[in-house]
């Protein structure tokens, strides 16, 4: 059976070491198996590694590998191959995986089917990193032959192997006959087609040109649910939607909104997150005030998502010594973001904020945000399995993508400690403590969490929505 999947974008280079797009990861899910995988409830489970354990000081991770696994080019997967891949990820000049593996000191083959990671300092998030691109093992033979050009013909150990790619048109994979778990694969061929326009994507599904689409527009949810020939699936994602306030990033930070946390608190209080969810996302999203969605185990129940409180917001504005506060907000130029921010604009206006919107295409928005040339910037994060990935690099003083340039040693301390502990209870406590401080300083105003929404034809069964937004094809069947 052939499966055609409509994606929102075209993937970038198909090399797990170099890739950076979300849709790229969707393709890898079918093509490249990882050392470990994630379940829909975000538990880490074996994939290419069958078992693992941490040393007592949390500085050594040993993994047992599955035996009898072959890459698509029929070379066997063993500890050597894993070491080669991880080293490649750490040393290839073009590699985008360096920061993910920054804590790794060295990686060695302890036995033919056992690898040992030695860390510079304790880092429990490594396991989560290995559940994604950093942990995708590629054929050492192909990697050596193609080098940085591996993406032109990727060779991994996943259920499907690469057939062809036409940029902006399609990526075609076919079933790999020697896949270790081939009994669970019921699809013979997968084609991914990038169709950016949501209306058109749905139209293609309806007309039968596609079997399945990702990121259905929330506004189309109702009509898909009504459609007897289609199946609807959604799940709240692990990322977030947020507004970054320029706290200390360059001269433009020097404004009341960046300086006075009361204004940011007032701003947040003036937003009716439920209304946003209803109007823009037809109830498919959830409101939020933390880097994790309310259904996440890491969400701090002590700080519930605030209801709109205009009086309090007005009072805070007054307290800060203002009547009206001018704020410039840069937003990405896609229609949904524009719709949402226009609503926010009119909501906060009632509390005394005169927001002017600056709609900017994404590349510009990103560089303005990095350069600190903004007051308030809408920025979303696709989310990581480990909570650290949703917070550490954004909030810590030296965080790689800390564009607000918020810096609080106390928060840094808490987040670093959370990273080092292998005990989830300890970690949770640290994150809760940080959440309290962040909710007060509010460098980032969290707005909520979107859902991943899929629509499929009725004859496609066995698809399990996953909060990481991936499309896992094991178990998926196509009838007729």
């Amino acid at each position: 059976a052939e499966l055609k999947i409509g994606l929102q974008d075209d993937a970038d280079v198909l090399d797990p070491a170099q890739s950076r797009t979300f849709v790229g990861r969707i393709v890898y899910t079918a093509m490249c198996d990882k050392l470990v995988d994630v379940t829909p409830d975000l538990k880490i489970v074996p994939q290419l590694a069958t078992a693992w354990n941490w040393s007592g000081d949390g500085k050594v991770l040993t993994m047992k590998l599955r035996e009898g696994v072959k890459f698509h080019d029929e070379t066997p997967l063993n500890a050597e191959a894993v070491v080669a891949t991880i080293e490649r990820n750490m040393t290839l000049p073009e590699s985008r995986r360096k920061s993910e593996l920054a804590s790794v000191e060295k990686v060695e083959a302890a036995a033919p089917y056992e690898v040992k990671f030695t860390l510079k300092s304790p880092d429990v998030t490594l396991l989560a990193q290995l559940s994604d691109r950093a942990g995708m093992i590629v054929s050492p033979k192909a990697a050596k032959e193609l080098g940085a050009n591996f993406g032109s013909h990727p060779v991994c150990a996943g259920p499907f192997k690469f057939v062809e790619r036409v940029q902006q048109d399609r990526i075609v994979l076919e079933k790999f006959g020697d896949y270790w778990n081939k009994d669970h694969i019921f699809i013979d061929k997968v084609t991914y087609l990038p169709i950016p326009d949501t209306t058109v994507r749905l139209a293609n599904l309806r007309s039968g040109d596609l079997d399945m689409i990702e990121r259905l527009a929330a506004t189309d949810a109702a009509s898909v649910k009504e459609d007897a020939s289609l199946t609807y699936a959604d799940v709240v994602n692990i990322g977030y939607m947020a507004l970054y306030a320029n706290i200390a990033n360059g001269p433009r930070a020097d404004n009341p909104f960046g300086k006075d946390k009361r204004l940011r608190q007032a701003f947040s209080l003036a937003i009716d997150r439920d209304a946003l969810n209803q109007i823009v996302y037809e109830g498919t999203a959830v409101g939020g005030n933390q880097p994790f969605p309310p259904n996440s185990p890491w969400f701090s129940k002590d700080i519930p998502v605030p209801a709109r409180d205009l009086d309090k917001a007005k009072a805070l504005v007054k307290e800060a010594g203002f009547d009206r506060v001018p704020v410039e907000m840069q937003i990405p130029n896609n229609p949904v973001a524009a719709q949402m921010m226009q609503i926010v604009q009119s909501m906060v206006a009632e509390a005394g904020f005169d927001v002017s919107l600056k709609s900017t295409e994404f590349a510009t928005l990103l560089s303005e945000q990095t350069a600190g040339n903004y007051q308030l910037s809408r920025s979303d994060w696709s989310g990581r399995v480990d909570p650290d990935g949703n917070i550490h690099q954004f909030i810590t003083c030296k965080g790689g993508i800390n564009d607000t340039k918020y810096c609080n040693p106390e928060v840094d301390k808490l987040l670093n400690e959370a990273r080092a502990s292998t005990d989830d209870a300890v970690r949770k406590q640290k994150y809760d403590a940080a959440a309290v401080i962040l909710n007060d300083d509010m460098p980032i105003i969290y707005l909520g969490h979107q859902s991943w929404i899929w629509a499929l034809h009725k004859n496609i069964t066995g698809f399990i929505p996953s909060p990481d937004g991936m499309i896992r094809l094991a178990g998926v069947k196509k009838a007729g």
Binding site: D10, D12, V13, L14, D15, Q18, S19, R20, T21, P93, E94, S95, R96, K98, S99, E100, A148, N149, G151, S152, V166, Q167, Q168, D169, R170, L193, P194, I195, P196, D197, T199, V200, A203, N204, R206, S207, G208, D209, E361, F362, A363, T364, L365, L366, S367, E368, T370, W381, S382, Q393, G400, I401
Partner: protein, 315 residues
Amino acid sequence: MYTYIAKRLLVAIPTLLIISVFVFSLQKLLPGDPILAMAGEERDPEVIEYLREKYRLNDPVPYQYVSWLGSVLKGDLGISLRTNQPVLELVAEKLPVTIQLAIMSMIFAFVIGVPMGILAAVKKNTVFDYLANLIALSGLSIPNFWLGIMLILLVSVKLGWLPASGYEPFFSNPLRSIETMLMPSFVLGNALAATLMRHTRSAMLSVLSADYIRTARAKGLSERSVVLEHSFRNAVLPIVTLSALLFGELLAGAVLTEQIFTIPGFGKLIVDAVFNRDYAVVQGVVLCTAIGFILMNLLADIVYVLLNPRIRAAL
């Protein structure tokens, strides 16, 4: 004739140089850091620095231009920053798509625009003329993205007649290929038909009042022969020039339509590349479309010359 072509090609060289400057300055003109755009969500500083070096972004601008031009002249358009694919390969991959789309659109434009223009001219100031103008103008005033979506919803989803999008290479399955391109080329052709119709109409009007048409009538020729032979064959000259211009524009101008129908042609390639700041692709492809545009104009001039005995003899 050959000297004429050679001369025209020589004149194209300065034009291409200017285009190369335009195209290159796009990179400097556009805000947004290309490296940032491709560093990924994590934006690893080490990677960023490496890429900056690799793509020579730390060199002085004139130096960058000269070295870029140098490799372009050697036939090397660089590689896509986003997918590492050589730009030349990308161009070769998209060119057939773009050309097929352009040709089919032109066919639509001609089939709709030219007969309507002729009739409107012959029946000037009658109901037919007004109607033809109205239809043409509606083609001109309906944005492509809108018409495209409407067509998909109607033809593909409601009626299920044609595939909603996608592309099939012509030589792998010609019928299916034409089928997939039918709607997008209609959308594009429809807009062009308006321009074509209006130009055909005015060219026909001026020819119809020419002395030699009166001569043709005085000979006792049938109206059909007067209109289609004597008039249209003369009126077609400006239309040829215009179509080359339109065709040239189609090479890169079908952005929105390609986007709606997800046709992997030049337009979509360029726009995506602009938004991703994939400059090697932007520069390479725009340069290619510009060359295409110039070649199309040259072709039009040659056809013009061939159709016009007066200039033909002068060469």
